[in-house]
């Protein structure tokens, strides 16, 4: 809905020229087709990657896969493993069996007979743990949404153990769990669990915070490094967990706190800065981990903390 209003005032300028839009053909800065690799290292998770090809901007085709490609992982100079395509239905997806560990330097190399090779190096940053995850019971409120729907509104404060001055790169995700109980014949909930649901809850933050949180195409929210300063060492969120008061109960909130490698952060920050189609809000250059291709080879480590509700 908001997109309807992105450009209203400047359109005034166009009022004279509503007849002044025309379809044209221009010589776009067309770059040759290159391989695109998106791959992350994370402890205790097998290395996975997606490998595709870039395409002309007007293309409506599905992403193509480079022919005869090999994806190889190295630790330092040593070959660790050759990734394989494990799903014939999804030829873009590659996987390795090894579990990477923090503080080691890994390199990935992609070769194809048709395209320049991709090579990049990264490592998994040591996890920054959460020093405290506080939620204020006294400020917790229940909002009546009508029709037996309620929402639990819980203020939480997240404080990382440290904010590295040279790499304050973090992201987080929230998952709420709501338990659904079986109703008895009279429509009252029993102690018997019917099922539990997990979902990403909405949350409320102040204007400055929302301006420095970025939606990225990963299941986490990226925190802009400029969020942190001497007086800002915590993030305060008010989490909203909706439920049906007749037979549902919020039971837990799961926080996943990611510490990111510089490449992961830079890549996703550049994706978050692609403008909104406005002529007054131009896009930024897209980061790439590779000299002769696109994508990212980054790492992250995750720290998890769960808050149980009783």
């Amino acid at each position: 809905m908001y997109r309807k209003f992105l450009l209203p005032t400047w359109v005034v300028a166009c009022l004279f020229g509503l007849g002044c839009t025309q379809d044209i053909i221009i010589d776009l800065p067309l770059l040759p087709t290159r391989m695109v690799l998106v791959s992350y290292l994370s402890p205790d998770m097998p290395l996975s990657a997606r490998l595709t090809l870039s395409a002309p901007i007007e293309s409506n085709d599905k992403p193509q896969v480079p022919r005869g490609a090999t994806v190889t992982l190295y630790e330092g100079e040593n070959l660790v493993e050759r990734l394989t395509q494990v799903n014939s239905n999804d030829p873009t997806y590659w996987e390795a069996a090894m579990l990477p560990v923090p503080n080691k330097t890994y390199s990935i190399r992609v070769e194809s007979p048709d395209y320049p090779a991709l090579e990049a190096t990264t490592s998994i940053p040591p996890p920054v743990k959460i020093k405290s995850l506080d939620f204020d019971m006294y400020d917790t409120t229940i909002i009546d949404l009508g029709d037996h729907r309620k929402a639990l509104r819980i203020p939480i404060t997240i404080e990382p153990e440290a904010i590295p001055a040279d790499a304050p790169y973090f992201a987080f995700s929230l998952n709420a769990e709501v338990t659904n109980y079986i109703l008895d014949d009279e429509g009252n909930p029993t102690d018997e669990i019917n099922y539990t649901t997990e979902f990403e809850p909405q949350y409320i933050v102040d204007g400055r915070t929302i301006a420095l949180l970025h939606d990225i195409p990963e299941p986490v929210i990226l925190i802009n490094e400029k969020y942190w300063d001497e007086s800002t060492r915590t993030i305060r969120l008010e989490v909203i967990i909706p439920y049906d008061e007749r037979n549902e109960q919020p039971t837990s909130l799961d926080l996943k706190w990611r510490t990111l490698s510089p490449a992961f952060y830079a890549y996703h920050l550049s994706l978050a800065r692609q403008g909104n189609g406005s002529p007054f809000n131009d896009p930024d250059a897209v980061y790439s981990s590779f000299d002769d291709g696109y994508g990212v080879f980054g790492g992250y480590s995750t720290y998890e903390e769960v808050v149980q509700f009783f």
């Binding site: 908001y2 309807k4 209003f5 992105l6 209203p8 005032t9 359109v11 005034v12 300028a13 166009c14 009022l15 004279f16 509503l18 002044c20 839009t21 025309q22 044209i24 053909i25 776009l28 800065p29 067309l30 770059l31 695109v36 998106v38 992350y40 994370s42 996975s48 990657a49 997606r50 595709t52 870039s54 002309p56 007007e58 409506n60 909002i143 949404l145 933050v205 102040d206 204007g207 400055r208 929302i210 301006a211 939606d215 195409p217 990963e218 802009n224 400029k226 909203i240 830079a266 994706l271 800065r273 909104n276 406005s278 007054f280 809000n281 131009d282 896009p283 930024d284 250059a285 897209v286």
Partner: protein, 873 residues
């Protein structure tokens, strides 16, 4: 004084001479003491017989007393006293006005060997010996010489009244044929004088005369397409221009996003423009100064003027408050776009998509009032007010049919208004016989932008029963306002030294952007209510104090050399931090025979108020913010060197410049959800700003033909401007959005007969750099099995693609009727963009079009008629 120490120190017991003229007394003294004396009798023609009486005084004391009434000095050698002529310089000061009482700024005044230029208030002062002189003046549009002879007999005030030329010549910029340094278009202190009569003949959309179009004609100055986005001087941002209206800073000088300026041409006097190398009396911006002055109004008789173009009409009345002592000027301007908009809006627009049910309304207006009154010879007071703004309203409905029956009707009401308020109360005081002038101003300037959006969604069942689904309103506000008091002193200590000093204290109030939401339906999306209220509760209001002081001097050791040096200092308090700025400036100018001149200027400028936007387009909804503890003051260093030649017919000049900017700002947009009404919530702006640097270098060449029936000018700029930010474009330098490698402007004016002249102007410029891509790829998270792919358009670099070149031809015919009668008529007809060049101001690439390179090009102005009629009484 050379003298024989022994003789002059000799004591005289008694020396008496009753009712003696100085020659008589000198002869008596020489006989009494026994030394020789030689002098000319005419040295003492103005001296009266006096009683001289001295006891126990040195001879030197007696000689000094005897020669006091004459302009002589004495020398003593070998027991001989010789008197030689030593003319005394007398102070001559006053105002230069025209026959309507208008004080004229920048007039060259010459009396004997002494010369000066009038300041912003028409004040001049200089020194001359006793004698009879012809006052020589030179000013564009006025008779060159005032024949009335001036008898200088002592310090005196002389008001000079200039007579307007009957026919207005069409000179682009004042050459300085008469100016002291005899330089080219660039004036003695580095400014370019822009004459109102010049832009009255230019072709502009709809016939709306506009000062900014003349500004944009100068070499080294760029604008966006057709003026959109403000002016960019030597690679500077639009907010880096200090735009003064009667010495009060104006924060948004444009209407219609900068396509037209707020300056009603009927009210304007001449305007000065500095391209970076401005004198120390100006501070607060790093790129340029545009000093716009309103006319004072006729203090002799009442006059009126009415004009109308295709888009706007204006009216002006002026006249004496008390004849010869005070005058007023009242002017207004308002647009009438609605019929044009309605006509053009018969088709869907960008806002409403396919809906045709739109009724947009837009207008802008200006109101000027200025009054002045001379309390006595030394004191004059002024009062001026400007109110102006833009109003935009666009209600429309979108209807969506539902497959299951019924339909949703979404009604949007978008209204925005923005504008300036500028008020100045001024007091001019001339220190009698002190060669000193002081101007004290109490100033207020405000710019406010408001945008309101109402949204109501109704679901209508097939049987036409309506139910409200959503109903809310959202408002965006941003404001900057200043209150300041400022004093400026002008003082000439001698013919060689001129001084200016002064200071200002300013209180800045800024609201960098506040958005709020009100819901009108009970229990409407309570989670959202909470979210939005919290999200948008930006109530930020900042108050900053700034103290500024400056000292500048002009030193002319010889008639051919001039040094302008000065320093501008300021203290800016913010967030318990005080930022000092010390900004030295120096210019050296040399002229020699046949009109040649050369100059070198070194300048450091700084600014503490910044307008931040994604790409510094200076749009009204971009935020004005102060320097803070996190954001340092912007500074710029510029060096420019040039030479020029001017004679009575032609002038030519070329100039090289290099400018380095530090702490230049760029706002990174936040979440889309915070955008509303074209504006962006200012929350967290301090942490969304990128700080970087800029560099600009260029060569500017211009030539003007300034006399004859065929006149014109040519201006060419070769330049390159880059920006570099640590977190933009991956830290690499990139071209500034208004970088144009080549910029060429030519205009030709032909006087056909007494009542008709014509003008043709052509402009060419390299296309603006923009960020485009021809490549995309798919990003899909490898961590999530069924993650949603997202297309990523791969931009390899910012502003690495250039739009097609900009070029445009304008042609006008200007008819002048009744030049010799009380009622005069002017008619302008012509065309803007004669050959309908589709200059793109934006290109939207169709990422799913299937046709390589397919894009949608937006053009602002096709061929537009120029039609304007004016009547002056």
């Amino acid at each position: 004084v050379g003298y024989s120490q022994g003789l002059l120190n000799q004591q005289v017991d008694t020396f008496l001479c009753h009712q003696c003229t100085p020659p008589q007394a000198l002869l008596k003294l020489s006989k009494q003491v026994g030394f020789g004396v030689s002098f000319s009798d005419h040295f003492f023609t103005d001296c009266r017989p006096t009683r001289f009486q001295f006891f126990n005084q040195k001879i030197s004391v007696i000689l000094t007393a005897l020669t006091k009434c004459a302009e002589v000095r004495y020398q003593c050698k070998d027991n001989q006293v010789v008197l030689v002529a030593a003319p005394v310089k007398h102070k001559i000061w006053g105002m230069v006005i025209d026959s309507s009482g208008e004080r004229l700024s920048g007039v060259f005044v010459k009396i004997g060997d002494a010369s000066a230029c009038t300041n912003e208030f028409g004040y001049y002062n200089l020194e001359a010996s006793k004698g009879k002189y012809v006052i020589y003046t030179r000013y564009f549009g006025y008779e060159s010489t005032v024949a009335k002879p001036l008898q200088v007999f002592g310090d005196q005030e002389v008001e000079i009244v200039l007579k307007q030329q009957k026919s207005l010549p069409a000179v682009t910029i004042s050459d300085t044929l008469g100016s002291r340094m005899g330089r080219n278009a660039r004036q003695s202190d580095g400014h370019y004088l822009l004459f109102k009569s010049r832009f009255e003949t230019m072709g502009s959309p709809g016939g709306e005369h506009d000062l900014m179009r003349l500004v944009a004609e100068q070499p080294g100055i760029q604008t966006g397409v057709d003026g959109l986005g403000g002016i960019h001087v030597r690679g500077g941002n639009a907010d880096q221009n200090l735009i003064l209206l009667d010495d009060v800073p104006v924060y948004n000088p444009g209407h219609m996003l900068g396509i037209f300026s707020i300056f009603n041409p009927a009210t304007l006097s001449n305007t000065k423009l500095w391209k970076g190398d401005f004198p120390a009396r100006y501070g607060g911006r790093v790129s340029s100064v545009l000093d716009v002055r309103l006319r004072d109004g006729n203090d002799q008789e009442f006059h009126a003027q009415v004009g109308a173009g295709l888009f706007a009409a204006n009216a002006l009345v002026e006249g004496p408050i008390v004849r010869g002592r005070g005058s007023f000027l009242l002017a207004g301007r308002i647009t009438y776009f609605d019929p044009i908009i309605s006509l053009l809006h018969q088709r869907p627009n960008v806002l409403s998509g396919d809906s045709s049910d739109t009724r947009p309304e837009y207008q802008y207006y200006d109101l000027n009032l200025k009054a002045n009154y001379q309390l006595n010879k030394a004191n004059r007071v002024y009062f001026s007010v400007y109110l102006g703004g833009d109003q935009f309203y666009n209600p429309y409905e979108i209807t969506n049919e539902v497959n299951t029956g019924g339909r949703y009707i979404d009604r949007y009401d978008l209204g925005s208004d923005w504008g300036n308020k500028v008020v100045a109360a001024r007091w001019n005081y001339i220190f009698p016989q002190k060669n000193m002038f002081v101007n004290t101003t109490l100033r207020y300037s405000e710019f406010e932008y408001n945008s309101d959006l109402g949204f109501k969604s109704v679901f209508e069942t097939p049987d036409r029963v309506a139910r409200d689904v959503a109903n809310y309103a959202q408002a965006y506000r941003t404001l900057i306002s200043d209150v300041s008091v400022k004093s400026d002193f002008t003082y000439n200590t001698s013919e060689k030294w001129q001084w200016r000093w002064g200071g200002a204290v300013t209180r800045h109030v800024l609201r960098p952007g506040a958005l709020s939401v009100n819901f009108k339906l009970p229990k409407q999306g309570q989670v959202s209510i909470d979210s939005l209220e919290s999200l948008l509760a930006n109530r930020e209001r900042r108050v900053n104090y700034e103290i500024e002081a400056y000292l500048e001097t002009t030193y002319s050791p010889t008639p051919h050399w001039q040094v302008l040096a000065g320093i501008n200092t300021s203290l800016f308090s913010t967030d318990n931090v005080v930022y000092p700025l010390v900004l030295p400036r120096v210019q050296v100018v040399h002229t020699h025979g046949r009109g040649w001149s050369q100059w070198l200027a070194l300048t450091k400028n700084g600014q503490n108020l910044h307008q931040i936007g994604s790409f510094n387009l200076s749009l009204p909804f971009e935020l004005w913010v102060p320097t803070t503890s996190k954001i340092k003051p912007e500074t710029a260093r510029q060096v420019n060197v040039g030479f020029g030649k001017a004679d009575d017919t032609w002038s030519f000049q070329t100039e090289l410049y290099y400018k380095k900017q530090l702490n230049t700002l760029l706002l990174r947009s936040a979440n889309d959800a915070l955008l509303a009404g074209g504006a962006e919530d200012g929350s967290g702006w301090e942490d969304r700003v990128s700080t970087g640097q800029g560099a600009s270098r260029g060569l500017e060449v211009s030539a003007h033909k300034t006399s004859g029936n065929t006149r014109g000018s040519v201006a060419y700029t070769l330049s390159r401007t880059t920006r570099q930010f640590e977190d933009v474009n991956l830290g690499r330098p990139f071209l500034f959005r208004f970088d144009r490698t080549h910029d060429f402007k030519i205009n030709l004016r032909q006087r056909i007969n007494r009542w008709l002249d014509t003008e043709v102007a052509w402009a060419y410029a390299t296309g603006n750099p923009i960020t485009l891509s021809g490549v995309k790829y798919t990003h899909q998270s490898p961590d999530v099995a069924f993650s949603t792919p997202r297309d990523v358009v791969y931009f390899s670099a910012v502003n690495s693609y250039r739009l097609p070149a900009y070029h445009r031809l304008d042609a006008t015919f200007n008819f002048h009727f009744g030049e010799k009668t009380r009622i005069r008529h002017n008619l302008q007809v012509g065309a803007y963009n004669v050959y309908n060049r589709a200059n793109p101001f934006y290109i939207l690439v169709d990422a799913s079009g299937g046709i390589p390179g397919k894009a949608k090009q937006y053009t602002l102005f096709p061929t537009l008629p120029v039609l304007r009629y004016e009547i002056r009484i």
